[in-house]
Symmetry: C2
């Protein structure tokens, strides 16, 4: 069990896009350059965000992506699920039905107890991601990161729009 690299890249891209002036766009090329990741592959991850309506895309020169919503309205779960999918991490294949002691008549109404625990754990994970918004980490960064780095990054963004 392992999250894709794309998740990390996408999260960082969203943070960067949050610093973008309104109605401006940042291209995949610039996003990839800023984070030092392969442009073409990052593009595929951003497609997921676009399909999930988390970002807006525009073509042509000066085109690219920008956030479709405010950072206060985009949770980590939104981004993670846009890339990883909404499928549960645990897949119950109901192997209890292979129990040789089961007769035709015995009915198992409730879902498998083991699967229930695993699904609860999955929900605990998602619940935490759902509780953290993009704006939260941005506020944190503005406190923790050196001021000059934030300023230089902001100007870098402005030079690339």
């Amino acid at each position: 069990m392992h999250l894709k690299n794309q998740v990390e890249w996408t999260l960082h891209c969203c943070v960067l896009l949050a610093f973008l002036p309104p109605d401006k766009y940042l291209s995949t090329k610039d996003l990839a350059e800023f984070h030092g990741v392969p442009k073409e592959y990052l593009s595929k991850a951003l497609q997921g965000l676009s399909q999930a309506s988390l970002v807006l895309a525009t073509l042509g020169p000066q085109g690219g992506y920008r956030l479709a919503k405010l950072p206060e309205d985009i949770s980590f779960l939104d981004i993670v699920e846009a890339v990883e999918g909404k499928m549960s991490t645990f897949n119950c294949s109901d192997i209890r039905l292979n129990n040789p002691c089961l007769t035709r008549r015995t009915k198992l109404t409730k879902p498998c107890g083991i699967a229930r625990v695993m699904w609860e754990a999955d929900e605990a994970w998602r619940s935490h991601l759902r509780s953290v918004y993009l704006s939260d980490v941005i506020s944190g960064m503005q406190v923790e990161l050196p001021a000059d780095l934030l300023e230089k990054s902001a100007t870098w963004i402005n030079n690339h729009t």
Copy 2:
């Protein structure tokens, strides 16, 4: 992100082993037959449990596996980590260090804020798994499952030791 099938198999095997009379063993062959899964591959998963000292193995006729501890002392996390490993689900490759605005002097002491959130979510997942013990699901099964199924399964186990 997706858990291996082996996790499901292993959890069910542990539950079955909990019903085993003390000092008796159940072979991989029987465990595989009971759950309808490939014997050879299940063996590989049980090796993980053995290396994590969750089960004891014995060779020869009448050999196999039995729990090394009481069901009250084996958490879901123990089993999941024995199969999936203790590695975090989120791998931070520190792409923030590729930021072109970073100078040689700027120091980033704290870990990446994004990674911290993802690690917290991972910990929430593990925390839930850590709070549920094998004995819990067994108690639940003894309430929910039909009595005759439990009895037949118990006799099945006794016939295979």
